[in-house]
Symmetry: C2
């Protein structure tokens, strides 16, 4: 059978590793059957005759991966921020999430969230819903239509939260199983379930044990929070006196990368034991620098994670973070690392443009498989960026233009977006 | 003579002091002859019959003041940031600034800068040009046409910079005097000169003495940099062994608030002596949090300044900061203060929404006189913000909408802008 091939032309930038950038100016990026065939300075003779979309002087980068976000919190992004994590959860988050019991509200809110994600440069995301099974399915239906590829989790909570969103332990496990079977029945192409115990303070050992069994039975990945805030870390020690570290409280139940892939958000206060556990278990870190500033958590030792070879991606962490714009997350990651280096620990050098770009593309993307790069065989997720809004008396070089995107781009720069070889959204189209 | 009166209607928000917000929902903001007459929940009978522009559910806030920015650096905002201050000056800034010798380049670049400022929510700014007299005048001509009110400074430098932008000591003073007289001759309505010794490392004592004389002769205000970076502070100690602190190196020559108002950017490393000097001399601080992160300077102890009663405004510090969007500066100020509190010094509590809003309006505005508030008698600078882009399943209260603006607004939210009672720019008009 004849293969489906198309070609994008522009200034192609991608990461093979975290220290360098691959740049091919006015080059050809070839898609074959949804996968990257290659990047070429000159189009090979054998590929001639296929359609080329020439984006002129635009930048073409891999789709970005948001490794940690909360769909129901998009409704209150940008306000109620004069608090730390635990108070913020109690005052802002839990009351808002309780509203998702009502399908009508959930539909209205999730439509806004999905539209925001669709317009952005993000092509993949790991998303928390709420405890409500129906609302989670509704969100997954919408995301499936968006063309983006996502992991979505119905949240589990059976303690330390208000009555109206607390599940019974047995109920939580049962609803989760029912949700998984519903999802399987819907045969989504791009939307997959991920187990989502909220965090240790809101999940009893018994619940975690049941979720561990589900992870094994259905081979489901896991997402949660880890060592975000000092009060939270202290609380986990009280709740799980038997755990050698916060991570251990997940690991004991097979929810920390041993049975299935796991991604943990924050890791601001991960000590040496925990870092080693993350490394041994191949756990992904979702670094959420804006969130860590906004709710006064601190700054994660990202350079340590990278030095250990731990895989790190970026998370917007809506609504402790305010924006789905992953370029902003890259810039915040650089800034946070500079402050950490200056103020807290001069041994951990600031993150570079190359490193944060790697995190936002291949670093986080690899949670989805071969995603986030233009190396041959990678899934074809690409974003075309038009930076003419940022007028300049002289055009900087391509690497500088990428750096400028990191500090200044938003959805206005997204000219076109491709996921798994399909164009999903363009500013020129009605999304 | 009949007075000129017009009225804006909307959700009016402003600061009287730094701890509270004045909010008048669906209220009337009355302008009389370019000044604020008052804010009213119900329009007083005697004001009836005057034109009302009803902005519905929009927010109306005082125009924002950017207390520190560099017009020639707008050309390279967002890139070349993997450096600290002194290296960044040498590699990025000085070579770019040297280009402003050519009028053609300066015109092209300053047109972009001015357009950016005009679209933003900023109504007042303190702006560095370059050492070039002609280019500074050109910038002032453009700003005058923009309708914004600005202080603009021809920069002075006679040491420690490349030959092509270093002036002789005598030459620098002479050119400055000629520039001042040229400015006086142009009879600008909204554009005023401000003395601008770049910073101590690039100005000899002899030059500062001459500038001090000019400050006195022409009663000109002064803008400069102070205690931004550790290496810079060390260098100043070597260059001015006679100075008791960095501030003293300006103060000795009458350039630190005694002869005329002075605004100093950064003050990250101002010690107790320097803080007391700032207080005694009534010096304004231009807090530039994004810049301080981007070039790894650190975090200024803003809470200390406020506790001392020192007047603090916000600066974008383009291009060590990346954006003229002062909302972003407010958000960065909050974030930086939270990290400082968490990591560096738990005694200085994080800045609040009320405090950063005050800094961006009345705090910085007061460098221009009675500016930055809607109290009666203030100059009428107002910005109308339309936040419908930030869709939400339910409309938050007005204070929350202001907080959301701080974290998420950019020039797209600016529906209309008034300076000294004149409408200067609206997204609906061609600016």
């Amino acid at each position: 059978m004849r293969k489906s091939v198309f070609i994008l032309k522009g200034n192609i930038i991608y990461s093979k590793n975290r220290t360098g950038l691959e740049i091919c100016e006015h080059g050809y990026l070839v898609c074959e059957d949804g996968f990257v065939k290659g990047v070429y300075q000159t189009l090979p003779f054998r590929l001639g005759g296929n359609p080329v979309c020439d984006y002129g002087d635009c930048l073409i980068v891999p789709g970005l991966t948001d490794l940690h976000t909360h769909a129901p919190q998009y409704a209150f992004r940008g306000y109620g921020m004069d608090m730390e994590l635990l108070e913020w959860l109690e005052k802002n988050t839990f009351p808002e999430e309780a509203r998702y019991r009502e399908a009508e509200y959930a539909e209205k809110a999730y439509r806004i969230f999905t539209a925001g994600l669709q317009k952005s440069a993000v092509t993949r995301a790991c998303i928390f819903a709420t405890v409500h099974r129906e609302a989670a399915l509704l969100l997954m239906d919408m995301l499936e239509k968006s063309g983006l590829v996502t992991f979505v989790g119905k949240v589990n909570m059976d303690r330390n939260c208000p009555d109206d969103i607390r599940e019974g332990t047995e109920e939580s496990a049962k609803e989760t199983k029912k949700w998984i079977r519903d999802v399987i029945g819907r045969k989504y192409a791009n939307t997959a379930p991920i187990l989502t115990p909220r965090f240790i303070p809101s999940c009893s050992d018994e619940l975690l044990e049941k979720l561990g069994a589900l992870a094994k039975e259905y081979r489901l990945p896991v997402q949660s929070h880890l060592s975000e805030n000092t009060d939270e870390v202290k609380w986990v020690k009280e709740l799980c006196p038997w755990a050698s570290c916060y991570a251990d409280a997940y690991d004991r139940f097979g929810l920390f990368g041993t049975e299935s892939p796991a991604v943990m958000a924050h890791c601001v206060y991960s000590g040496e034991n925990e870092i080693q556990r993350m490394k041994e278990n191949g756990v992904f870190v979702a670094h959420c620098p804006e969130s860590n500033m906004n709710v006064s958590s601190g700054i994660a030792p990202v350079r340590r994670f990278l030095d250990e070879g731990i895989r790190v991606g970026l998370g917007s962490d809506i609504a402790a973070g305010t924006t789905e714009n992953l370029f902003a997350a890259m810039a915040h990651a650089i800034r946070a690392s500079k402050l950490r280096w200056r103020i807290q620990d001069g041994t951990l050098k600031p993150l570079t443009v190359e490193e944060v770009f790697h995190m936002a593309t291949k670093g986080g993307g690899s949670f989805f498989g071969k995603v986030g790069s233009f190396e041959p065989g990678y899934e074809f997720d690409a974003v075309v960026l038009d930076d003419r809004r940022l007028a300049s008396p002289r055009l900087p070089d391509v690497r500088s233009r990428l750096e400028r995107m990191i500090f200044l781009a938003d959805e206005r720069e997204v000219r076109a977006k491709f996921v798994r070889g399909e164009e999903v959204c363009s500013q020129n189209l009605k999304c």
